[in-house]
C-alpha cells in the first residue's frame, strides 16, 4: 500500500516529510483482518503498531468469565496502539477487528531505533503520540461524566 493515500486521514503520517514517509513505508506491511480477529493481546510485546486503513478496531479489556469490554473503537486514519512508544513496550489492551478491517502494520523497534538517531523525527512522533494521548484522555474524561444519564 502506498502510504500517501493514508496521509490525509492519519495525523502521524501527515506530519512526516517525504523522506520520513519513505522510511515508514519501508518498515510497513498491509494486514487484512477478518471480523473478530485479534491484532494484539493485553500484556503482549508492543513490537508493532498500526494505522487503520479500512474498517474498525476495538480496544478491549478482558476478564475471566466476562464478555470482553470494548472501551474504544478506532477507525480509518487512527493509530492503534500507543504503548509501542513507551517502555516497557507492553500492550495494556487487547485489539480486535470489528468487522473486516485492513490495517497498516509498522515495525515499532525499527521506528524507535530511527527516532533515537533522528531527534527531529523523534520530536514529530512524540508530538503526534502525545496529542493522541491528550485527545483520548480528554474524551475519556468526558465519558466519565456520564452526560447522557437521566438527570
Amino acid at each position: 500500500m502506498n502510504l500517501q493515500t493514508l496521509r490525509e486521514s492519519s495525523p502521524l503520517l501527515a506530519k512526516l516529510s517525504n523522506t520520513e514517509l519513505e522510511f515508514f513505508e519501508s518498515v510497513s506491511s498491509v494486514v487484512g483482518l477478518k471480523s473478530g480477529e485479534i491484532l494484539f493481546e493485553e500484556g503482549g510485546a508492543a513490537d508493532t503498531f498500526y494505522i487503520v486503513s479500512e474498517g474498525r478496531v476495538g480496544l478491549e479489556m478482558t476478564s475471566p468469565g466476562k464478555a470482553p469490554m470494548v472501551i474504544q473503537t478506532l477507525g480509518p486514519g487512527d493509530l492503534v496502539g500507543l504503548s509501542w512508544f513507551f517502555a516497557p513496550h507492553r500492550w495494556n489492551w487487547r485489539a480486535r477487528a470489528v468487522g473486516d478491517t485492513t490495517v497498516v502494520a509498522f515495525d515499532a523497534a525499527e521506528v524507535r531505533r530511527r527516532c533515537r538517531e533522528d531527534r527531529d523525527l523523534a520530536l514529530e512522533v512524540l508530538g503526534v503520540v502525545s496529542a493522541e494521548l491528550a485527545a483520548r484522555l480528554h474524551r475519556t474524561r468526558i465519558q466519565l461524566l456520564d452526560l447522557y444519564k437521566a438527570p
Partner: protein
C-alpha cells in the same frame, strides 16, 4: 407554512397560557424510559412548526413541561414528541396511552437554520435524547435532499439500549446520500458499532468546513466540546448552532425562568448560534 385558523390564533393572543386540547393517537416505546407520542388536536388543524421548536405539554392535574417536537414538519397534522421520564410531569406523559387527552401550547422558540443550510454541507451531532429535536431537521433535509450538500449525522448514546429511533437509524444508515455514525459510551456483547465519544467520529465524516452548517443537540458539555472540535476543523462559530434548555415555564418570554444571560431561551432560543453563547457556556451559575 400552514397558518392556524383565525379563531385559534386569536385565542392564543388573548389567552396565551390556555392549552389546546389534543389526544394521543399513537405511542411507541423507544427505550426503557423514553416514548414517542403522536398527538392530534381535538379542536381544529394541527400545529405548523419549524424544526427545533418546542411546545408546552400539559398533563391535566399534574403540570406542564417544554418538549421539543420530534416529528416531521411535512406532516403538521400530527404532533410528535419524544419524551424521557425524568420527573413527575414527564413520567405522567410517558405513562399516557392512545386516546388519553393532553394540553398543548405552542409551538414556541427559534428553529434550526435549515433554510440557511441549503446549498451547504450539513453536520448534525446529537447526544442522548438530543436526537429527538434534530429529527425534524433530518426529515426536512431528506424531503428536499437535492438542495443540500453532504449530509451527516453523528449520534452518541449512553448504551446500545438507550439509542432512539432504532429502526429509522437502520434506514438512514442504508441511504447512500446520508452519512450516519453512531457510538455508545458503554457497549455490551451484542454491540458491533463504535464505542467512544462523538468527537472521535468527526474525523470520519466528509464536509467542507468553509461551506457547512452544523447543528448540535445534547448535554451542554457535549455541545461545547463538539463545537470546539468543529471550530478546530475550520467551521466558523456562526455556522455552528446549539439547542439550549433552561427551566421554561411560561414559554412567552414573560416569567424569566429560562433567562440565560440577555436571552430568554423560550423566545430567543432554544436554538442559537454557538458564536452567540460560547462565552456564556463557560460561566458557572448561568
Amino acid at each position: 407554512m400552514t397558518l392556524p385558523p383565525a379563531g385559534v390564533a386569536a385565542r392564543n393572543v388573548i389567552e396565551p397560557m390556555l392549552p389546546r386540547p389534543f389526544r394521543v393517537s399513537a405511542r411507541r416505546a423507544e427505550t426503557a424510559d423514553t416514548v414517542t407520542l403522536e398527538m392530534e388536536p381535538d379542536d381544529g388543524p394541527g400545529l405548523a412548526f419549524t424544526p427545533g421548536q418546542f411546545t408546552m405539554i400539559y398533563v391535566f392535574g399534574i403540570g406542564e413541561v417544554p418538549i421539543s417536537i420530534s416529528g416531521s414538519p411535512q406532516d403538521p397534522k400530527t404532533l410528535v414528541h419524544t419524551v424521557r421520564s425524568v420527573g413527575a410531569v414527564t413520567q405522567a406523559i410517558v405513562g399516557l396511552d392512545v386516546g388519553d387527552p393532553i394540553g398543548v401550547r405552542g409551538p414556541y422558540g427559534s428553529g434550526w437554520p435549515v433554510g440557511r443550510a441549503e446549498g451547504r454541507d450539513v453536520v448534525l451531532v446529537a447526544g442522548g435524547i438530543g436526537l429527538a429535536p434534530l429529527r425534524p431537521v433530518l426529515y426536512a433535509v431528506l424531503a428536499n435532499r437535492e438542495r443540500f450538500g453532504a449530509v451527516s449525522l453523528v449520534y452518541g448514546s449512553r448504551t446500545p439500549a438507550d439509542l432512539l429511533f432504532g429502526d429509522q437509524l437502520h434506514i438512514w444508515r442504508s441511504r447512500f446520500d446520508l452519512e450516519v455514525e453512531v457510538t455508545v459510551d458503554r457497549s455490551d456483547e451484542h454491540w458491533f458499532g463504535d464505542v467512544g465519544m462523538v468527537t472521535g467520529l468527526l474525523p470520519r465524516i466528509s464536509f467542507d468546513p468553509a461551506n457547512t452548517i452544523s447543528m448540535l443537540c445534547g448535554p451542554e458539555i457535549m455541545m461545547k466540546v463538539v463545537a470546539r472540535e468543529l471550530e478546530m476543523r475550520g467551521l466558523a462559530p456562526d455556522d455552528i448552532h446549539v439547542s439550549l434548555e433552561r427551566n421554561m415555564k411560561c414559554a412567552i418570554a414573560f416569567c424569566g425562568h429560562c433567562q440565560f444571560g440577555p436571552d430568554f431561551l423560550c423566545r430567543d432560543g432554544p436554538v442559537l448560534p454557538y458564536s452567540h453563547v460560547a462565552q456564556r457556556l463557560t460561566v458557572t451559575g448561568l
